[in-house]
């Protein structure tokens, strides 16, 4: 136990502010983020992540958003296990043929406002996998998308900024 306590005190708080971005528009939204979540989502915004066919590196970065450096929970962002509680779907991958139906069902099970964020080059336009018998390509080919976050994979910072953009819309 003493070791655990020592570890906690030795480490302190490592969370960093989201670095300012070049685009003043996003910066403005960044400042308003907490206010927006407070106002529009009663202090907490809940995300359901759906892997619709990714290579799994996008998932690694979404995970990283939860680590102590980015600590996305401090903004009121939470991940949920069920689409029925979700305000936002964070969707990765080109939509594989074998995931298409599951993705449509998840979308149908999500209550309004149903904000959909397409993550990664694959989610935005199909990426290296493109469109084929097995891949339907971009997320917007299957369900409506509000905001896209390009990158392969997008960094946790880019993800946070993209989510802020989606909330600000």
């Amino acid at each position: 136990m003493i070791r655990i306590l020592k570890q906690i005190f030795r480490t302190g708080i490592v969370s960093e502010p989201v670095p300012p971005v070049a685009d003043p528009e996003i910066e403005r939204i960044g400042v308003q983020l907490e206010a927006a979540i407070r106002q529009r989502f009663r202090r907490s915004m809940t995300i359901r992540q759906v892997d619709a066919g990714s290579c799994n590196a996008c998932e690694l970065e979404i995970h990283a958003m939860n680590n102590a450096f980015y600590n996305c929970e401090r903004y009121g962002i939470q991940f949920t296990a069920s689409p029925r509680f979700a305000d936002m779907l964070l969707v990765t991958g080109p939509v594989s043929h074998n995931m298409e139906i599951a993705l449509r069902r998840t979308y149908a099970a999500t209550p309004p406002p149903k904000i959909v964020v397409a993550v990664g080059d694959c989610g935005c336009m199909g990426g290296v996998f493109g469109e084929s018998y097995a891949s339907h390509g971009a997320i917007h080919n299957v369900i409506p998308v509000n905001v896209t976050i390009p990158g392969c994979p997008p960094t946790p910072t880019a993800l946070l900024q993209g989510i802020l953009r989606a909330i600000g819309q």
């Binding site: 070791r3 655990i4 570890q7 906690i8 480490t11 490592v14 992540q49 759906v50 892997d51 619709a52 066919g53 990714s54 290579c55 799994n56 590196a57 996008c58 998932e59 690694l60 970065e61 979404i62 995970h63 990283a64 939860n66 680590n67 102590a68 450096f69 991940f79 296990a81 069920s82 689409p83 991958g93 080109p94 594989s96 043929h97 074998n98 995931m99 599951a102 998840t106 990426g127 290296v128 996998f129 493109g130 469109e131 084929s132 018998y133 097995a134 891949s135 339907h136 392969c152 994979p153 960094t155």
Partner: protein, 523 residues
């Protein structure tokens, strides 16, 4: 010890001949008649060789039919056995009776290439879901990959368990949490799991087919995305297979940098997994601390090499990014605090009896089972199998740098976690050694021209375990086939077997201790 090739030749005599299409430097390969295919492999089974992969290729562009390949491994040796299958009678003898792991490989061959394994007890499709048209065989050259698949009616025949009090729990494909999709079906009695059946294929993106429409250089980008968490090792396996096929020699410095990237990938993933395993036994503090170490580590990747996971840094011919003296210094300065902090966390893990209570004797995969199923990598080494291609099939620079891998025999979740602990230590040591005498010179060489109808083979030890990539050039030197075998294709079988008798709530822990790739399996 008799070489694998000779074992087969002794049984088959002049019926077995050496395959002269494969570059001899990469792997030994024999061609045998179809009717003696199973017989040839029986000789290998008797001498304790394990099946590492089985796949098919469409060779009609060469005016031949199809071909089925089975790759065996024993100690330092790999042997590929090829048999030709006429297009008029697309069947081949199943190896499932001798090698359990063959059953899924063969289901996949049948599903995607349309060749029927005669004698395989499980005719259900694999990767190909039941709503695909039965005659959609995407790996055949005649299949038009650009067309959408129509959906047909169909139902998957699950394995059932019956009896009083047995009930079924279906899970997935969309899971709770941020992980890849797959479907698990449990039959349970009270809390105890009677059977678990996996059904994967949800993230099948047609990777193998897509390779065939790309140039060799573009293929490298796709190989890097077979399984994103293993991007370095998959890029390396692809690069080595292409280099083997073309006979390209790459500079030593490139070898050293590749190993540096490979070990960094191993450390990053092991740190992530250790955190996740602790989290699944409700010990969240270690999750946050291990992930803090991982984050700092991948930031160094970004700073020095321009990508947090080192994607696209390994390409056929070498690597795309070099390191200078300041970079080496940065890494050395990172390793000391990493070691210190890591050891502190390991001590907390080791000291905690509530944690120990959950991870020990949970999800035991017995050594016999691990052997029978042909497990690889961490899973194999936690169940008593001493397998690591950095040692047994060393690719440079591992032929000059010693690797000491731990092997444990308890086969439980703890063993799989502890192998990771030891491997982090070992990889830190290897990185120091790599940096100590890194050869100078160039970091890449031009790829030698690709001749028609050649193949190349590579086996690489990624952080999960052995990856096998086999490439074949077509009549114009283009990609005719690129077969990728992620460790997950084998190790998923182990997860099903380790769960019997465990309680349902321990499944997430067992699954995490395996942490196999869905994308690498489904392709």
């Amino acid at each position: 010890m008799i070489r694998l090739k000779n074992l087969v030749m002794n049984v088959l005599g002049p019926d077995a001949r050496e395959d002269d299409n494969i570059a001899p430097s990469t792997v030994m390969s024999l061609v045998v008649p179809r009717k003696r295919f199973a017989e040839a492999t029986r000789a290998l089974k008797k001498e304790y060789a394990l099946l590492a992969a089985e796949w098919a290729a469409d060779e009609t562009p060469f005016g031949r039919g199809y071909a089925v390949f089975a790759c065996f491994r024993r100690e330092q040796e790999y042997l590929v056995i090829k048999t030709e299958v006429p297009a008029t009678d697309p069947t081949f003898p199943s190896l499932t009776k001798k090698f359990a792991a063959a059953f899924r490989f063969e289901r996949q061959i049948e599903s995607l290439m349309g060749l029927t394994p005669v004698g395989n007890p499980d005719p259900r499709p694999w990767i190909k879901h039941e709503d695909w048209p039965a005659d959609a065989w995407p790996l055949r050259k005649s299949f038009d990959a650009r067309k959408r698949l129509p959906r047909v009616a169909g139902e998957y025949a699950w394995i059932r368990a019956e009896g009083d009090g047995i009930y079924e729990i279906p899970v997935g494909p969309v899971h709770a949490g941020i992980i890849e999709p797959g479907h698990f079906r449990f039959q349970a009695m009270g809390e105890a799991v009677v059977n678990l059946e996996e059904r994967l294929g949800y993230v099948h993106k047609g990777i193998e087919k897509r390779f065939e429409s790309l140039a060799w250089e573009e293929g490298a980008r796709l190989a890097a995305r077979v399984s994103g968490d293993t991007t370095v090792a998959h890029s390396l396996a692809y690069a080595r297979a292409v280099e083997a096929m073309t006979g390209t020699i790459i500079p030593d410095r490139a070898h050293w940098l590749r190993a540096l990237f490979l070990e960094r990938e191993r450390i990053a993933n092991h740190l992530g997994d250790l955190g996740a395993i602790c989290n699944d036994v409700a010990f969240a503090i270690l999750l946050y601390h291990f992930h803090r170490l991982k984050e700092s580590f991948v930031r160094t990747n970004m700073k020095l090499f321009g990508h947090r996971f080192l994607m696209d840094r390994v390409v056929p011919g070498g690597v795309t990014v070099d390191i200078d003296a300041a970079g080496i210094q940065t890494i050395l300065e990172e390793l000391d605090p990493l070691t210190r902090e890591f050891e502190r966390l390991v001590k907390i893990y080791d000291d905690n009896s509530s944690l120990e209570d959950r991870v020990r004797e949970t999800g035991i995969l017995r050594p016999e089972t691990a052997r029978d199923l042909g497990m690889v990598g961490i899973v194999a080494r936690a169940s008593g199998l001493n397998l690591d291609c950095r040692i047994h099939h060393p690719f440079p620079p591992y032929d000059r740098i010693a690797v000491n891998v731990p092997v444990l025999i308890s086969g439980d979740a703890h063993a799989r976690a502890w192998i990771r602990v030891e491997e982090v230590r070992e990889s830190i040591r290897i990185i120091r050694e790599l940096l100590k005498d890194m050869p100078g010179g160039r970091i890449s060489a031009p790829l030698a021209p690709v001749l028609p109808d050649r193949s190349g083979f590579a086996a690489v030890e990624g952080w999960r375990g052995e990856i096998i990539t086999w490439v074949q050039s077509g009549p114009k030197g283009e990609i005719n086939r690129c077969m990728v075998r992620d460790p997950s294709s084998l190790n998923w079988l182990g997860l099903e077997q380790c769960i019997h008798g465990n309680i349902v709530p321990d499944f997430p822990l067992c699954n995490k201790s395996f942490n196999q790739s869905y994308s690498g399996n489904d392709l």
